[in-house]
């Protein structure tokens, strides 16, 4: 086959890909626009800003008893290992468990939320839910569980 035809064929294939891609974008975004409850194109938790706290400060707060530690990872990860005295609050359980949390927050204290520190930023999603519920005493543990464990702070294992 002469190279000119081959080039044309390649062009045709890529043009077809572009066509399918554009059609998918149109259908996906278009249909979402007309849904009763559309999925936000950009997750809203990305727009909020959160106070951060590093592991040393968190440890300090914990020894003073001025902190409620929340593990935003899923139940299996939490069961394997977690920060000492941390409670598990996966995102999907937030609305069910939020009312029970209020008495656990120490007076003049903070809620410190942590995630795995890689992959899905569950800690920010959970913090966003707290902010939405009107709870402002929120801090996020910088680096998540991995940074905490790598710096040699204590963890609870099963």
């Amino acid at each position: 086959m002469p190279p000119a035809t081959e080039k044309k064929q390649l062009f045709n294939i890529l043009f077809g890909c572009l066509f399918i891609g554009l059609l998918s974008v149109t259908m996906g975004l278009g249909l979402n626009f007309f849904r009763a409850s559309p999925l936000p194109l950009i997750p809203p938790f990305l727009f909020a800003s959160y106070e951060k706290i590093d592991p040393a400060q968190a440890q300090q707060l914990a020894t003073e008893g001025k902190v409620l530690l929340l593990d935003s990872r899923d139940h299996l990860q939490y069961k394997k290992t977690h920060l000492p005295r941390a409670l598990n609050l996966p995102i999907k359980d937030f609305s069910a468990l939020y009312p029970a949390l209020a008495p656990l927050i120490p007076v003049n204290g903070w809620i410190v939320i942590y995630g795995e520190g890689r992959g899905r930023p569950t800690e920010r999603e959970l913090a966003y839910l707290f902010l939405g519920a009107g709870e402002k005493r929120i801090k996020i543990l910088g680096g998540g569980f991995r940074a905490w464990a790598e710096k040699g702070y204590p963890v609870e294992r099963r």
Binding site: S24, V25, N32
Partner: protein
């Protein structure tokens, strides 16, 4: 393979693997698999977005856009494959998707994360089976992309109209 050593007729097997009749069959199977896979994701984008986020690979900024567009790419490319319309483009798109799926699944298997596969929409847990399934589908896609000559396909109608030969190689 040394000649005479093996009893298997390698030449015939190779011819079978390169046959355009096999391509026609695989084209329909692969297309149908992707249409099936996309259906639930199109109906429940929020749930699919959860699964995508749990993979922890895409930046959060892109998760929702991806979750809205990807199922339609699967659906459209799958339908086109079944009909034999833009077969090579469709199979190329599905090949690229499959490579991405395989990478994403492998990373999460190595991480040891216990998440939903999100492959066919059901609550199937991610595991080696999903990886093997995608590898098989990848092989099917490569066969279709390389050897499909448009048997029982809409593509061949267009080609005949323009008076081109149906063969590609």
């Amino acid at each position: 393979m040394g000649r005479g050593v093996s009893a298997l007729p390698w030449r015939r097997i190779r011819l079978l693997l390169q046959s355009s009749y096999l391509s026609a069959i695989l084209r329909v199977i692969l297309g149908a698999l992707f249409v099936m896979a996309s259906w639930d994701k199109i109906l429940h984008p929020a749930r699919f977005a959860e699964d995508v986020a749990n993979y922890g690979i895409l930046p959060p900024l892109l998760v929702n856009l991806f979750s809205l567009i990807l199922p339609w790419a699967e659906m459209i490319a799958g339908l086109f494959l079944i009909l034999g319309f833009l077969s090579r483009s469709s199979s190329l798109i599905l090949l690229v998707l499959l490579v991405n799926f395989i990478v994403a699944i492998s990373i999460n298997i190595i991480r040891g994360s216990q998440i939903d596969c999100g492959c066919f929409g059901s609550g199937e847990e991610l595991g080696v089976i999903a990886l093997l399934r995608d590898l098989v589908m990848l092989a099917m896609g490569v066969q279709v992309f390389s050897f499909d000559r448009g048997l029982f396909a809409i593509d061949s109608l267009f080609r005949k109209k323009r008076g081109q030969a149906p063969s590609r190689s």
